[in-house]
Amino acid sequence: MLKKHPLLTFIFFGFVLFLISNRLDELRVYQGATVAIYAIGISSLILLIGYSGQVSLGHGALLAIGGYAAALARIHYNAPVWLTFVVAVLAAAAGGALLGLAAARLSGPYLAGSTLALAIGLPSIANQFPILGGEQGLFFDIGLPPASLGADFTQYKWFFWICWSVALIALYWLRNVMNSRYGRSWRAVRSHDVAAELAGIHVGRNKVLAFTISAGLAGLAGALLAMTISLVSPGVFPLALSFSLATGAVLSGVTTLGGVMIGSVALVAIPEFALAIANRYGSETITTNLPGLLVSALLILTVLFVPNGPVEQLRAKRGKNEHPVKKK
C-alpha cells in the first residue's frame, strides 16, 4: 500500500493515531507527541547521513535554532502557532545553509568534529544575550487548545495532534523529495562523488541543499520540542540530545526512511525501561543516568549486528535490498 498509495497510507496512519490518542492516558499521549518530534529529528538526520553522505553530531544545535526562533516569534510578534513553526524552519534552514557551506568542504571525522563543536557551543550563546533569556531560557506558550474541542480535551492531546499532524506532513513531503530527482542526486553523491560529478551532478551544491533541508526539518523538531515543554533554554538542547538523535537514526537504519518509527519509539521507550529497572533494583538516583547507558549500549549493538538498520536487514533477507551501503 505504501508503494502504491503513499498519501493514503499517511492519512490512514494519521487516522489510527487519532483513534489511539483518544484511548491513551495523558502520560502516553505526551510520550506519543515526543515520538513524533523524534521522528522528524531522526528523519532529518537520515536525509543527511543516509542520502547525502554527510555526518552531523550536532543536530541539537539546529533544533535549538528552531526552538529559539519559534519562541522569539511568539513572544515578540505574538505569531500564531503555525507561523512560529514556519519561522523555526526558515531560521534553522538559514543556519543550516551557512553550516552546509562549510560542511560541503569537510568530510568524515572533520565534519563530525565541527558539528559536535557547534552542538556544545551554540546553546551557550543564550547566556551572552539577554534577549535569549540566559540559562533560564524563554517561555514558549502556545495557549490552550481551542474550546470547540471540548472541556475534556487536554493540553497534551493538543500537543499530540499538532506534533503528529506536522510530523506526517513533513515525512510525506520528505519521502517525496527523497524519491525525486534531488533524492537520486544525493544518493549518487553519497555513493561516489566523482561518478556523480561525471554524470553532471553539482556535488557541492547538492550537499549544501541537503544540509539546508535537513536543518529546516531539525528546526521544526526543535520548535515542537520547545512547544511540548513550554520552554527553550540551553538545557533543553543538551549534547545528549544530539547523540540521542544520531543513535535513533542508526537504530532506524540510515539508508531508508521506512524505519524511522523504530528509532523514535526506542528513544522514548528506553527511559521507561530504565525507570522500571531502577524501581525494581535501585534508587531514584540511577534513573537519571541509566537511560544514557542503555542508549549507548543499543547503539553499539546495532552497529555490530545490524549496521544498516533493521528495516534494511529485513529487505536484504528478502533479496530486495535496493540501496545497499558499501561496507568499508
Binding site: G134, F139, D152, S233, G235
Partner: protein
Amino acid sequence: MIRINRRKLITTSAVLAIAALTVATVPAQALNPSMGSDPGITASSIKLGITSPLTGIASPGYNKIPGAMKAYFDYVNTNGGVNGRKITLVSKDDQYIPTTAVAKANELILRDKVFALVGTLGTASTKALTASTQLSQRGIPSLFVNTGFSGFADKKAYPTTFSILPSYQMEAKIMAKYVKETYAGKKIALIYQDDDFGRDALAGFKTAGLTFDTYIPYASGSQSLPATGAGWISKLKTAGTEVTVLFGVSSASTAALANAYGAGFKTQWVLGSVGGDATTIAATNKAYVPLLYGAKGFSFAPAPTDTTDEYIKLFQTIYAAAQPTQTFDNNVVAGMSNAFLAVQALKAAGANLTRAGLIKVIETKGSTFASPFLTPLGYSATAHIGATGYWVGTYGPTGALTPDGGKYTVYTTDSGTGPVVLSTYTRPAMPAKGL
C-alpha cells in the same frame, strides 16, 4: 495520468468522509478527570510529590530536604495521619536542571498521580515546571516552593503555587536597612547572581534606597569556574571595598570566601540566606567553613542549634530517629518546616479533601497556621507568601548562625514599597506533640 489522479482523489475523499463520520461518532471520553475525587487521595492515603536536586552540583545540603520531609510525614503517620489519611512522599531527582525538573514533575503528575507537589526547589526549575505542566490550569496545588522569588507569591500569575520563604525582595530590603544603619559611610559592594533570583534582590535593594559603590553580577554556573572568584576579589580590592554583600548561591559564597582568604583580602561579609549555608560550603571543602566566621547572615527560622526552641527540640528528636547518620542543620529545619506546614494545611482542609479546597483553606486560614517560623505568615486571598521577615545574626567558627544580641530581633516587610519594621509577632505555642 489524469485518470489516476482522479481515482486517487475519489479514494482520498472517501477515506476522509469515513474518517469524519467516525470522528463524529467517537464517544466523548468516558472519564472526566475534573469530576469525582482528585487524584492521589483515597480514604486512607494522600500522595505528595517533590522534585529537587538529589545529585549534581547544587545537591549538597539541599539533598537532605526530601529525607527531612519524609521523616516528619512518617512521624505524623505513626500518630494517626491527617484526618485518618497517611501521607506518602514521592521524591524525584532533577539535578537542579530546569528541563529535568519539568520531566520529573510530569512523571509525578501523570505517572505517580500525586495529589499535590510540595517543596520543589530552585527558582528556574519551579518556574519551568509550573509553566510546562500547567499546574494552574490543572488546579494542582504546589505547596510551599523552596524559592524566595517574589513572583511565586503573586496569585494572579501562580494561582495554585504557595511560597514558604520570605521573598528575595523582602530579604534585600531588610539587608539594606541593616547595611545602611550599621555600615554608614563605608565602601560597599554587591555580588549577585544575574537571573530572576538575583534581580529580585536587586529590585529590593533599589526600593530600600541602597546603592552600592561596586556591582558585580555573575551568570549562574560561572561561580564554579576557578577564575571567577579571583576576578571578584581583584575588583573588590581595586574599589577599596570595606563591606561586601553577597546575594548568590552557596557555591558563590565558597568562591568569594576562599579567594578572599587566598588573596589576604579582608572585608566584612554580609551573606544572603541562600548563600550562607555552612553545610553546603562544608560539602565543597570543610576547611572553608571557618572562613564564614564573623560574617553577617539572615534567617527566619529558629537556629538549628537552639535547643531551647520547642520546634527545634521536636525536629531533632524525629530526625535523629529517622536519619541517625545525618547531621541536623538548617536544611533539615527547612524540610521539616515545609512538611509541618503541609500537614497543617491538609489538616485544615478537612476530611473532605480536594485540591480546590486545599488551596482555598491556605488562602483563608493560612496566616493563622501554626509554624516554626519566627515571623508571621503572609497567606491571604491575594498573596501566596509564607514567612515575611528575617532576623540578623553572626556566623560562628563552626558555621552556625546565632542571633546578634543573644535574642531573635525580627524585622518584617512586604515585597512592595512598604517600610521595614520591627516585628511584634510572638509565635503561638506548638500544637500538642507537634502535629
